[in-house]
Amino acid sequence: MMKQQIPRLIVLVFGAFLLFQFFVPHESSEWIYEFLLDWTIIIGVFALAVGIWSLFNVHVEKIKTKKFGWKYSYVTVIGFVGMVTFGFTSQNGQEWGWFFPFVAAVLLTVLMIVQAGATKGNALPFLGAAAFFALCATVIAWLDTTWSFYFQTSVPLQSFMFRRMFDNILISLHATTFSLLAFFIASAAYRAFRARNIMASLLLLAALVVMSRFNPYLEPIFGEHVSRLSNWLMNVPNLAAQRAVIMGIGLGMVATALKVVLGIERNYMGKG
């Protein structure tokens, strides 16, 4: 009952409400509507904790079972803890004081806790060490005035270390991973664009036409016709097919959503 019926009821009630809200321009419906949207955001906040917990679980597990490449899990943990520390502290003045020793102490504390979780034997020594490092960190935080915790304002998001980690590590990793696509597209095109059957050939030809249209160098070779053809491709068959696909997707989504609201489709919700 509590495990099955109530969730189903919740889905039905809120789903139906938002369904009808769309047709009710009245203020009061707007109120509740905006209100529900806020709720979702707020619930999302708590998901943060769930995610982080799972992240740590996975890596502790990896280290515990000495799974292939387990050593690298430490890298993840260190990166995480370091970044979080930077994300909640900020300098008061210009010089650093004991900030980095503090970060190190925090890192060691967490590592020790991870180790305690991962070890098969006696976890006590690790916990002891963790306690010790935690103590060091507290002492430093207590005595050092060159930096301080910011739990009130989002100053740390602009703080030096946080910005640097973001700009120099996160961004370059992000952009580079993305840029691998350039190469993968080339290899994918080379491997897959072969006129095996009529469908593959159509795919291949359309791609070639469009690619050569965007290439002014091929203009003299193929002349006006290619660019006209590719414009036609983009504006006529493309338009038609996209429209068909969009309608299909819309249909599928509406059907799925309806099934969910009506409780016909409830596979997404656990049983037992």
Partner: protein, 519 residues
Amino acid sequence: MRHKLKLVLVLVLCAWTTAAAQTDTALGDSVSAAPALPPPLPVTNLQAFDTDNDHGHAITLTWEKSADDGAGENSVLAYEVFRWFPFQVDVVDALRKSVSETRDAVRAFRIDLPRAENALHELSEDPGKLRTIRFNVARPSDSTFELTVDYAIRALEDTIAFMRENAPILKNRTKPLQQDLEKALARLPQAHANYPKDGEWRSLGKALVGSTTYTNTGSKETTADGFFPDYADLYYRVEAVTVDESIRSEAATVGPVQSRGQWFHTGKVPVLGFVLMFFVFTLTFVQMAKKGANLYVRPLSGIEAVDDAIGRATEMGRPILYLLGIGTATDVSTIASFSILGRVAKRVAEYQTSIIVPCYDPIVMAVAQEVVKSSYLDAARADDYKQESVFFVTNYQFAYVAAVNGIMLRERPATNIYMGKFMAESLLLAETGTLAGSIQIAGTDEIAQIPFFIVACDYTLIGEELYAASAYLGREPVLLGSLKAQDWAKVVIMAVALIGMLGTALGWPAFAQMFQVTG
């Protein structure tokens, strides 16, 4: 033509007035010599009513053009619209202003006080920091003034004392002010009802020549300046104005009129129609299916591949990698993917092979764990279920990609199944999967990504097929029934499209207009 006329008119008038001025100075009362333009005729049939299909807080005015609109020399240039405001409105505005100002002041204090204290602390510790402290001290403006440490310290102390003293006072003022504001707002309708006592006409703006309608809309937020009260008697008047602001028709007045929100948006009837259609279709066919009408579904190669793929994984003793994409639990495609995951996990449990589900969003992870767990329960292998097999990676697109690529190359899954919402990462993942030599089955509703999956994967579910997949795998009559409903909806679309096209071709736009959704 009309504009040219206006221009001429303006020039003439300007010339004339200047001339008049000169003659004025020359000889006493020759102004009367100037024939004053007769005012234009007023607008007729002025009507005011609540704007339809809105949440209230708006009134629409309509009128018929003044007879002089676009006519000869006293042509109308614009229609100026006025509304009658009770003075109570000013009271409300004033209160609102002071509330917000007090709030800002309190807030400013809260932010500056700690800064000042910190600066004072630093300064008293080490006077050398005079240039670096993060607080600009109040100082005389003349350039010769040299800032000294003791001056700065004194100034800081004064500032801090002042703030400490005033912050609480201000804070205590906000609540009563707030209450006054609410009281004042409550009195507004009454004040409007007092028309024409204790109020005045105020201009709302001008509607250009030729226009016959004007909408006066305002904010629904009582805290916003442009607050527009609902259920209050409002009075409007419209005057036709000529080139010369002073020459205007007498006013046409209308009122009282009240604005209110509607409970049904008539512009959205077509949507409602389709919703009902869907509803009926789905229920009908689900009922039919339950009664056991056998429903044919055409084979989808992508779906059939799933079973073989799981079998293959079992033979090779390698895991199956299932990716839900980077959608959140709020995307329908992700929800569809959940139910596919359920089916797949059930098979996996039956074949006693293993499944890996790295997740991009914690909520998605939570749901996925529930799904996989319950599938293992269905397969009566609850104890084979490992919570760690469904885990959260990171909520950052390309970090997720990097991690999953790593998994592909190290765990070497026999099969990769991509179902759900995929963006730029589609090809990055699929190419790595090919490199790792896995069988790949993909399905997404991101049109832009389908080509990449088609190119790099062995089987691809295109768009709607993704939503059909769970019904295919489940083979439950109920779900097959809903598939049937989708097909019938397609038939309706085609019919409508055909009729609509013929309609537009044969000059029958009414039909097409039925599908114009407004607002």
